[in-house]
Amino acid sequence: MLIKNGNLHDGCGSVKKGDLRIVDGKIAQIGENLAAAEQEEVFDASGMEVLPGFVQAISLWGVNGSMQEIRPSSNDNDEKSNPITPELDGFYAFNGRAASVQQLGAYGVTSCGVAPSDNNLFGGTIAAFAVEGVNPYKMCLKRNIGMMASVTPNLKKTYGTRPAAPMTRMWIFTNFAEHLRKASEYKETPEKPSDDKLTALQKVVKGELPLFVSCDSLTAVERVREITDQYPNLKLILVNGFGLTGEEEWIAERKIPLVIRTAANPMEEDAMDLDLKAIAAFAQKGVPVALSGTYTNSLPIREDLLWNGAEMMRVVHDPEQVLSMITSTPAKILGLEDQIGVLKEGLRADIVIWSDHPMKTYQAKVVRTYQAGEVIYKEGDEKTCM
């Protein structure tokens, strides 16, 4: 099919008027005055804004838990029986229908990352999915994207109150360091059964699996830096951005990616210490900055990326830059840049046509949303209910 005469925002800062052709679920061609082939469906996007589908880097979409199922239970990304579970695979936390029922396409979102919770020191691996579908295997864009770690007080709140370890930050950072050290020295031997935890963490140390670390403060970020600096191949990604001042030169020099979980909730004291001016300053210096969802396990919000975009707009007043923080940059941080996040020939046709620029004005409405070339929402569709 052919989308004609739209303002095409590529998600990397460029805007131009043009046409976009979708063939077999992919963006086949972008250009001017593309002629419709015989029987090709044409959508006239004159006066409309054509954007890549939003990518929520870390989310709770599709994750079932006590609010969704009849038995009191933990969220499926929250294995709080043991603070060290690097061997777990976040893929299994995802339920396709649980994501689909939220109708995220109506909010401009077409893909989401699912990570283990912030309640474990090493929680397991991150996976990413399309938002509409049933079968997680068909919806999955990538597994083993990275290892989710957390050095936040959520560990103390989860375990320390039982009481069990960790009860202190001493335990948290000592074990963070020790597990990475053991993993770096780990060798599988025929005499002993293999150690799943260290095997998983060894990939982190070797740089085969990026390490996403959720931190609550600048001090925590510095401790994580000291510990991970000992492993030159380790790929560090900082999650939240709480406490960063913009002066942390090493983040700018090494271009450490930042996944910002804004929409700060005053119920979360940790989440209040976010300076978006500092985050914007890092972005100016070329640090990859992705805006993501809410901090911790509160109910996810479908408008998260729209609202976090608005928060950033009040700081940088540049709609294309902010758009990149919810499209191309999160796709890159998740290692999905060859699949989604940009309007580029060859990538998946995850495209949202808006009546106006959603980063500029609240008057922007979704006209239609394509996931891999299929319309998953169009203006006027009934909103789903439960």
């Binding site: 929409a263 109910l299 479908r302 408008e303 500029k360 008057q363 922007a364």
Partner: protein, 379 residues
């Protein structure tokens, strides 16, 4: 005294949107007009700026719930606590009042939390200033659905069901009615005076239709509240109101003093969270039902009131009508429109200066906030 010069004033009163000056004196709006000046008075240039009334958050718990407080707004020991008063649960120094000011909220309707079926009195309170109580009480707070059920089911106490919730609510109002009748009879025969009961006393202004019953209610629970309102001929406000778009016809009822929608900051969840419809703001407004939005602070995201307006606008509402949901209409629904919610002569000088229209432009920056004429925040 000073003059705010040449702003685009969204008065939210009879004057509509005008280009004019505001003369502020003794904490009040003294005059609105062209070319105002005051000898020796300060001038604040608002050329090219949007000037709005201070925002009124029609449903909040800041100062009493969340970090920085000692959790003094949810007395989860008895589902029937009409004798309580939010006034005593508020910490005036809670940092959330500062956070509120940064999104333009100058008056909050502070309610007890919704653990109890009948929770206690609600007050209107300013985010800053010397005399911060705008009105007390503005309502009696009530709650339906999963909050009372969830809180008391844990200990096998009533209410464990919506059946019991309706019964507790109705019995309370009936008792207030009986109490009032006995007091009336005591006018002729003092021996008939019932023993003083603070909880029942607190219900009298509700039955006298001086204040509404302000009820946490989602979806069909709103219809239960409406049935009770008709039965006792009282005013109600329906707070949260997720699913209101299913009940447009029913909500056009003289007992409904207003609907206070939100927060949108949730996903769908089974039961009472099964519908989330910010489009109801326009739907209700078009039908003449007074509609406001809320932060439910501090439970949701910072800047919730801005986003709530924004989502109403995304769903087709005119940006100025959306502004009414956090100013004039909000003030009217909570019964403080004589003091706040519009830029009109004689009203409190609670004034916001914005770089752009906040119900429309995502990057509108709040530049100055005045409460009772005092500048309390500058960007």
């Amino acid at each position: 005294m000073y003059v705010i010069k040449n702003g685009t004033l969204y008065t939210m009163g009879r004057q509509g949107v005008i280009q004019a000056d505001i003369l502020v004196e003794n904490g009040k709006i003294k005059k609105i007009g062209k070319d105002l000046s005051h000898e020796g008075g300060e001038m604040i240039d608002a050329s090219g700026k949007c000037v709005t009334p201070g925002f009124v958050d029609a449903h909040s718990h800041i100062g009493g719930i969340g970090p920085g407080t000692e959790e003094d707004l949810n007395e989860i020991t008895n589902p029937l606590t009409p004798e309580l008063d939010a006034y005593y649960g508020i910490n005036p120094d809670d940092k959330n009042f500062e956070i509120a000011l940064k999104q333009g909220i100058t008056t909050s309707c502070l309610a007890p939390g919704s653990a109890n079926v009948v929770c206690g009195w609600v007050m209107a309170y300013k985010s800053a200033g010397k005399d911060r109580v705008v009105k007390r009480p503005v309502a009696m707070k009530g709650a339906m659905g999963i909050n009372p059920k969830g809180c008391y089911s844990k200990t096998n106490q009533a209410p464990m069901t919506r059946m019991a919730i309706a019964n507790i609510m109705r019995t309370y109002l009936k008792n207030v009615k009986d109490y009032m009748k006995k007091k009336e009879e005591a006018a002729a025969d003092p021996a008939k005076m019932p023993p003083f009961d603070l909880g029942l006393e607190h219900g009298i202004p509700v039955l006298e239709k001086k204040i509404p019953l302000k009820v946490h209610s989602y979806m069909h629970d709103m219809m239960t509240v409406l049935e009770i309102a008709k039965e006792f001929d009282i005013y109600i406000t329906l707070d949260h109101a997720q699913g209101a778009s299913d009940f447009y016809k029913e909500l056009q009822d003289p007992h409904v003093q207003g609907v206070i929608f939100g927060p949108t900051a949730e996903c769908l969840f089974p039961g009472e969270g099964g519908k989330l419809d910010p489009e109801c703001c326009k739907g209700l407004d078009d039908r003449g039902v007074p509609i406001a939005v809320m932060t439910d602070g501090p439970v949701t995201v910072v800047n919730m009131l801005l986003f709530e307006m924004g989502e109403a606008v995304r769903n087709g509402m005119d940006p100025v009508r959306a502004l009414a949901m956090v100013t004039s209409t909000a003030a009217k629904i909570i019964g403080v429109e004589d003091r706040v919610g519009s830029l009109e002569e004689g009203k409190d000088a609670d004034i916001l200066i914005w770089s752009d229209l906040p119900s429309c432009a995502t990057d509108a920056v709040l530049e100055q906030v005045f409460v009772d004429g005092e500048c309390v925040y500058k960007s």
